[in-house]
């Protein structure tokens, strides 16, 4: 197995804010790794350090076998990076944006590559349209096409589907899986749980620290969270009442049902015992990735304080 990303002990501070603390991350070639964590947890900073946009204060490692500190230039030629904000030229056309990217990377067969990319996107007819006039989903697909035009070996995506509708998100992810199937390594940050579940593995970062790592099932199992699902009319209204009980780490309403989770099974069962009555009906369920993440977020916050 070859590691596309292999970094150890990355640190980065802005002023007195220690944004990334001792992050180590290994991603195998050809894998899609989901990068998760609350807002402001250091995901973007980590991605920027990996592609040479930021210099780490300390730490070492390599991307695609190239040193992230001394060979940032070479990494830039072999990696594709898609920023959080749409950052193509809105006042250039779709085709001109692709051509610019092709020229900046000094690609050969420019015209062919741009035409192929347009065809893959299904934007041949709209090639002369200004990029700024595209809808959110199309903008992201164009940005992806631009970031992969030079056939990078590593793709870093920073919340690529924020604010994009479900259908466009699905198309986007189908494209990412197609790219990974060709051997491309993808590190993608996201807040969507369904997207996290579509990744081969996930890394969870909170307050600058990497706190969970593995496949979705492993991460769920590692937290040792027990979750009960309660159903019944008006049960969602009990959420704030139940969440205050000892043994309950969190309670979240999902429409007509309520997820109650805790790490201590006995205490949790004791807590919901009074509510095991008509018209409610309880059953133990597998905790969802979301339950696990919210749990991780809360515990890491506690550690931080």
């Amino acid at each position: 197995m070859t590691l596309a990303i292999d970094v150890r002990g990355l640190n980065k501070s802005f002023g007195d804010k220690h944004v990334v603390q001792n992050v180590s991350l290994q991603v195998e070639e050809g894998k899609i790794c989901g990068f998760l964590g609350p807002n402001g947890s250091g995901k973007t900073t980590t991605l920027r350090m990996l592609c040479g946009l930021l210099t780490p204060d300390s730490g070492e490692g390599s991307c695609l076998g190239l040193d992230i500190i001394t060979q940032a230039g070479a990494i830039k030629r072999r990696a594709g990076y898609m920023t959080q904000k749409f950052s193509l030229y809105e006042d250039l056309t779709i085709e001109e944006n692709l051509q610019f990217s092709a020229r900046v990377h000094s690609l050969d067969r420019r015209k062919d590559r741009v035409d192929q990319a347009l065809e893959r996107l299904g934007l041949i007819e709209r090639r002369a349209q200004l990029a700024g006039s595209l809808s959110g989903g199309w903008k992201q697909r164009l940005a992806l096409a631009t970031a992969t035009l030079h056939e990078p070996r590593l793709l870093l995506l920073d919340e690529p589907t924020a604010g994009v509708d479900p259908k466009a998100r699905r198309t986007f992810w189908d494209e990412i899986h197609a790219l990974a199937a060709e051997g491309l390594t993808v590190l993608v940050s996201t807040h969507y749980m369904d997207e996290a579940e579509r990744c081969h593995e996930i890394a969870y970062i909170s307050y600058g620290r990497l706190i969970a790592r593995g496949t979705a099932q492993q991460v769920i199992a590692d937290t040792k969270l027990v979750t009960f699902n309660g159903e019944g009319p008006g049960i969602d209204r009990l959420s704030s009442e139940i969440s205050k009980l000892p043994g309950v780490d969190m309670a979240a309403a999902f429409g007509q049902s309520l997820h109650v989770s805790g790490t201590n099974r006995a205490a949790l069962e004791a807590a919901i015992a009074p509510y095991r009555r008509e018209p409610y009906c309880w059953a133990e369920v597998e905790p969802s990735l979301e339950d696990v993440f919210i749990r991780l977020m809360e515990t890491s916050q506690d550690n931080f304080r």
């Binding site: 946009l53 930021l54 210099t55 230039g73 830039k76 920023t83 950052s87 193509l88 990217s101």
Partner: protein
């Protein structure tokens, strides 16, 4: 929820005030601009310059010549800064712009004055900027009586109505004192500064503001490549502007073009590159397009007021002239006016060209040092 609500106005007002004070640079500009303008307009600008540098060529050593010399020395308008030995030397001084006035007292001056035989002294004026010399030229009318009144006594005394000698004023380079001849070439410097500095200052901050800079930095493109690639189109813009201004100056305003094309071309090239690099430097400092805009205004203001474009450079007090020497436009204006109006060659304007070279080097070096290839 209709009508005019004072509470709602207050809400908007408070928000506006807070935003105004949040942007430090805007805040500073609001306070600094009026102060700067007051100081410049109030103290530095003087539309009736005195103490203009004057060179003297005396071709006879007589009492009268010395009297005229001391009369000039005593006048507030003229500062005798040089004594020329030959007419050619005197001519060089005025062509290079080292002096504003060149005074010649001819060899037969005393003889003619004593004889009452139409004695003349020659005052050559560098009239490229008519407003700089108007008052001084007017003051020359009183010179004969002031200078020689005391010497011509007794047998030499004359009826006062008759002038003792004639002051021949020769306005060179702009004999009809047409202001446009001075302003139009000067506009070249001001227009180039305004458009080029502002456009480049905005072009990089625009990328940073829209977020495209992040994508650009993630590509293999090097800082020098970004700078050259970004500035090259504006070099073309600057050259087109120069061509338009020169053609219009000739066609509409009849501005004389005496030559000096090599110096002019060099000056234009240096000035365009320097202005672009300055804009680029500003954009590496400014965080928003608004800030970049304000910085360029801050640069353009002294370029107009202190460069000698609008008001005579020599009319300003010494401290303002020293400040003016730091403004690149000052040197560019001297190159353009020198070339077009006086036909100066490289040997006359090399100092100004050197100043422009220094401007380009310093600003480019600073811009390169400030431009970051990362987001740190």
């Amino acid at each position: 929820m209709s009508g005019f609500s004072a509470t709602r106005v207050l809400a908007v007002m408070i928000k506006e005030f807070k935003q105004l004070t949040r942007d430090r640079l805007t805040y500073a500009m609001m306070l600094a601009l009026p102060v700067l303008q007051l100081l410049l307009f109030g103290y530095a600008i003087n539309s009736e310059p005195r103490h203009l540098p004057t060179a003297l060529l005396v071709q006879e050593d007589t009492v009268f010549a010395r009297s005229i010399t001391s009369a000039l020395r005593n006048s507030a308008y003229f500062d005798l800064v040089a004594q020329a030995r030959t007419p050619a030397e005197l001519d060089d001084m005025i062509r290079r712009g080292e002096v504003q006035f060149a005074v010649t007292i001819p060899g037969d001056f005393t003889r003619r004055v004593v004889r009452g035989d139409q004695a003349q002294m020659l005052v050559e004026v560098d009239a490229t900027d008519p407003s700089a010399t108007g008052a001084a030229v007017a003051a020359l009318a009183a010179l004969p009586t002031q200078a020689l009144g005391a010497d011509l006594k007794g047998a030499l005394a004359r009826p006062t109505a008759e002038p003792l000698f004639e002051v021949v004023v020769h306005r060179r380079y702009n004999p009809e004192a047409i202001t446009a001849y001075n302003i139009v070439p000067g506009l070249l410097g001001v227009i180039l500064s305004m458009t080029l500095v502002m456009m480049t200052a905005l072009s990089v901050t625009r990328e940073a503001e829209r977020g495209t800079m992040e994508s650009l930095l993630a590509t293999p493109v090097e800082p020098i490549e970004v700078m050259v690639g970004k500035l090259a189109p504006y070099v073309a813009v600057g050259l087109i502007q120069t061509a338009i201004i020169l053609v219009l100056a000739r066609v509409l305003f009849d501005v004389p073009m005496q030559g000096g094309w090599l110096g002019l071309s060099l000056g234009v090239a240096l000035f365009i590159v320097g202005s672009l690099a300055l804009g680029f430097l500003m954009s590496t400092v400014a965080k928003t397009q608004l800030q970049a805009m304000q910085m360029s205004v801050f640069y353009i203001l002294p370029s107009i007021l202190l460069s000698g474009f609008m008001f005579p450079f020599r009319g300003m007090p010494a401290w303002a002239q020293a400040l003016g020497e730091v403004v690149p436009v000052t040197h560019f204006l001297r190159v353009v006016r020198g070339a077009l109006l006086k036909g100066q060659g490289l040997e006359d304007m090399w100092r100004e060209l050197l100043a422009l070279v220094a401007f380009v080097c310093v600003v480019t070096a600073l811009a390169m040092a400030r431009y970051r290839r990362t987001l740190d």
